[in-house]
Amino acid sequence: MEPLIFDWSRAQRRNRQHHPATLGADASSPQDAAALSPFLRRQPAPLPEVSELEVVRHFTRLSQRNFSVDTHFYPLGSCTMKYNPKVCHTVAMLPGFLQRHPLEAVTTGQGVLACLYELQEMLGHLTGMAAVSLTPMAGAQGEFAGVAMIAAYHRTRGDAQRTEILIPDAAHGTNPASAALCGFTVREIPTDANGDVNLVALQAAVGPHTAGLMLTNPSTLGVFERCITRIAEIVHAAGGLLYYDGANLNAIAGRIRPGDMGFDAIHINVHKTFATPHGGGGPGAGPVGVAERLRPFLPVPMVGREQDGTYRWLTVEDCPQTIGRLSAFGGNIGILLRAYAYLRLTGAEGMRRVADYATLNANYLMACLVQAGFQTAFPARRASHEFIITLKNEAQQYHVTALDFAKRLLDFGFYAPTVYFPTLVPECLLIEPTETESKEVLDRFVAAMVAIRQEAMTDPQWVRDAPHAIPVPGGGHSRLDDTLAARKPDLRVPPLLGGR
């Protein structure tokens, strides 16, 4: 294990190149120390004291202990871990963009505002929505914004009884959580055996209490909801609105538009379809798009274009019915610039190919695994951009679980697919290869799965004990104990060591 940065610390070790020149002769306390004294900290914050070389070494070495898209195949279902083009990073990090203060005169921000305005337009065209606000800072905040707009819509119409949001049981956890945060009651809708929403149940659930339905299509089960038009009719007929969880847009981008399917609101995960990085947990961005009737409620700020072609922020003064502000400034603008750059590289043709090749790769990989004897969750269905295999047979026969397969894949140099989600399918792996992976990589993944199943037959304990030596410096850890972590939470270096 790489020691903690605190372990490298020695009292009084200083990186003086990062000490700013101070005006006073002595920098140990400010000039007006007396006036400030009741408000001052009693002793310096117990941060580590390390040299710059030690910092560089420590964090460089830590980075090497990560799997990432830049180093490994990362078929994490529902997460669209595709290639993050380096140029998108480089252009977003241009000093002109980085150094601009958010509250600076708008005359200095025409460059960034032009990009954001065009991004609003492009996302609108791509999703078939009337208007877009870019401000939500991740998918979940986009969901919140969408549901809040649905609430505002009903409220504005005086329709106070709509207190329920319907959500299929396969939905991502953020959907119910976001709905709850908006004050709604969540009602689950079951899935039928083919992976479609159970229409009978839906029909039974809708009514005057229905504010809306949250859905993604293709669903998190990796299949296209064939009755989407019918579903939209049912919900709309009951007076509810339709919310689209845009996490799965990679399956349809440039091919099918949520707006055409009847959705009223949508969020987009730019850190999925638009190839912005996931950064080991973010930042992402979750722009929201809406149909005409929800336009007045879009969160602010947005970017508007004046008659003379200049751009400016639109705020609550311009949009009096807005649900309001979601972030201190304009959202994760640096990430939006990356998405903009990506879209300009692909254009319409490139976007369409995203869906085409994401779908081709998923179906090919699924077919190969089926050929190799694995069982898919919905054998009768085409895959969308992702698909589910269930290892329930393997679990029964060899007592080797989906988690064991996942851990063993790491030894082969593959990040594991999403495990145990959606919860409907037992011992499942949700596999999303994305369009940026080559056929050779998919073939090698199939070979690894077959090899692991072979091991499960002949030496199941070996698989249960995985990982053994994952390809990181030093060979990495054996399986880490989640239970211990939760039972005796150790969430920071103890104050005595690095703390107070």
Binding site: P30, R41, Q99, T108, E349, A416
Partner: protein, 457 residues
């Protein structure tokens, strides 16, 4: 074939793959989609650009935004960022990884998160810190939700000083709109620019779940943190400290406010190595006392052991989170601002306690010096008479908006006009000078302002 960047398939590959699938064209793979939903016309997007053309376009756009001399703060500060911060944080292995679900293949990210949590806990003097929230404003919203959840015995009411950043208050309003939580705005002292402890007396015990205390507040003024904290605790309320983490190089950490410390601390991590970037991405941080940990929103990394007894790290306490608890989760947050905590962790490691303290001192001294210079301009005065830190409100003899426009023409970002936010503060400017603003820079602002005011007046 036309442009199809980033797709590795050769036509041989496509043929082989379709052959295995037993279909003729890729279109067949969309056969489950109702025909009428498939787009036939090309979308109305601009034609694809080569990387060369894109780079040129973006360089032109970025140069349009090129840097003013920045005296604007108001929640986002231009600090020096050591080159090593982003050289390392941008490394592909950090940049292109997902949330570390498979701990064994994600020790890099997880150990950084654990170190981040440790450093922030030390800086805030809090027991626990999460692995980040979106930004300072939404973190404040989450803190309020958390306090209300943690205080079932109290009224669903929160006391929010008017000295909190106006945008933060707007975000709180948006986030709480659907829930029956009352947000009470506390007035500020017209002379001192701080929250008067006296104004709290209207709120009896258990009539509110929490009191928010910003330090420094939006005006740069230092609040009476100790008095306010102890008062709130006496009334059975929790205290939410909203702080600038860089200021904590010098200022008392929330955990040391009053006799027992604030219960929750939150704020925006931007000052810790994050570029201004027109407003984001930044990151929100949140810490709390041990007793509140199960109410904490967001991801948390924990230290554990592997089968060989070796120390390692995992995401933990996930039963608070949406993917397990769904509608009953402590928050809907999923993707957070991970990469920025990597940057902040590197930043804090490079500065160390002494570097952070000196940076805070330099910021404050530059602002003191700036105040001194501005005060000498005829018609200009310092608006509030209380101690401030690193940011202050200046009274002008004319409209601040106009002055700002003129300053921008001279290449200076001169601060924020407060009139749009506070009716009682016409012709005022919120200005700040960080460690980046040399005495010469401050002289330039003072000089330009003098000239402008003379010309106008």
């Amino acid at each position: 074939m036309a442009t199809m960047p980033f797709i590795p398939h050769t036509s041989d590959d496509v043929h082989a793959m379709l052959a295995l699938l037993g279909v003729d064209t890729q279109d067949t793979l969309f056969e489950e989609v109702p025909k009428e939903l498939l787009c036939t016309d090309p979308l109305d997007l601009p034609a694809p650009l080569s990387e060369m053309a894109l780079t040129r376009l973006m360089r032109e756009r970025a140069s349009q935004d090129a840097g003013l001399l920045c005296f604007t703060g108001a929640g986002a500060y231009e600090h020096h960022i050591p080159a090593a911060v982003w050289e390392i944080a941008s490394r592909g292995e950090f940049y292109s990884a997902y949330t570390p679900y498979q701990a064994e293949a994600s020790q890099g990210t997880l150990q950084v998160l654990y170190e981040y949590q440790s450093m922030m806990a030390a800086l805030l003097t809090m027991d626990v810190v999460n692995a980040s929230l979106y930004d300072g404003a939404s973190a404040l919203g989450e803190a309020i939700l958390m306090a209300v959840r943690a205080q079932p015995a109290c009224a669903k009411r929160v006391l929010l000083p008017a000295t909190v950043h106006p945008h933060y208050r707007q975000v709180v309003q948006t986030l709480l709109a659907g829930l029956a939580i009352e947000v009470v705005s506390l007035p500020y002292c017209a002379q001192g620019g701080h929250t008067l402890p006296e104004t709290l007396e209207a709120y009896p015990a258990h009539s509110f779940a929490a009191l928010v205390i910003p330090q420094p507040n939006f005006f740069g003024i230092l609040e009476e943190i100790h008095l306010l904290t102890d008062w709130a605790h006496r009334q059975g309320g929790l205290v939410i400290g909203l702080v600038n983490p860089l200021a904590l190089g010098l200022l008392a950490p929330p955990g040391e406010w009053g006799s027992t410390g604030a219960d929750i601390a939150c704020g925006d991590g931007q000052p810790l190595g994050i570029p201004l970037s027109s407003g984001g991405p930044y990151f929100g941080f949140m810490g709390c006392k041990q007793a509140l940990v199960r109410q904490l929103p967001g991801r948390i990394a924990g230290r554990t052991q592997d089968k060989q007894g070796e120390t390692g790290f995992v995401l933990t306490l996930q039963t608070r989170e949406q993917h397990i608890r769904r509608a009953k989760a402590t928050s809907n947050i999923c993707t957070n601002q991970g990469l920025l905590t990597v940057a902040a962790t590197i930043y804090l490691s490079l500065l160390g306690p002494e570097g952070l303290r000196r940076t805070a001192v330099a910021c404050h001294e530059h602002t003191l010096a700036l105040a001194e210079r501005l005060r000498q301009i005829p018609g200009v005065s310092i608006r509030f008479d209380r101690p401030f830190f690193h940011e202050l409100v200046v009274q002008l003899p004319c409209s601040a908006t106009h002055v700002l426009t003129r300053l921008a023409q001279h290449g200076i970002s001169g601060g924020v006009s407060l009139a749009p936010y506070y009716a009682a503060l016409p012709d005022t400017l919120l200005v700040c000078a960080t460690e980046m603003r040399t005495p010469a820079d401050c002289a330039r602002l003072a000089h330009t302002l003098t000239t402008l005011l003379t010309e106008e007046g």
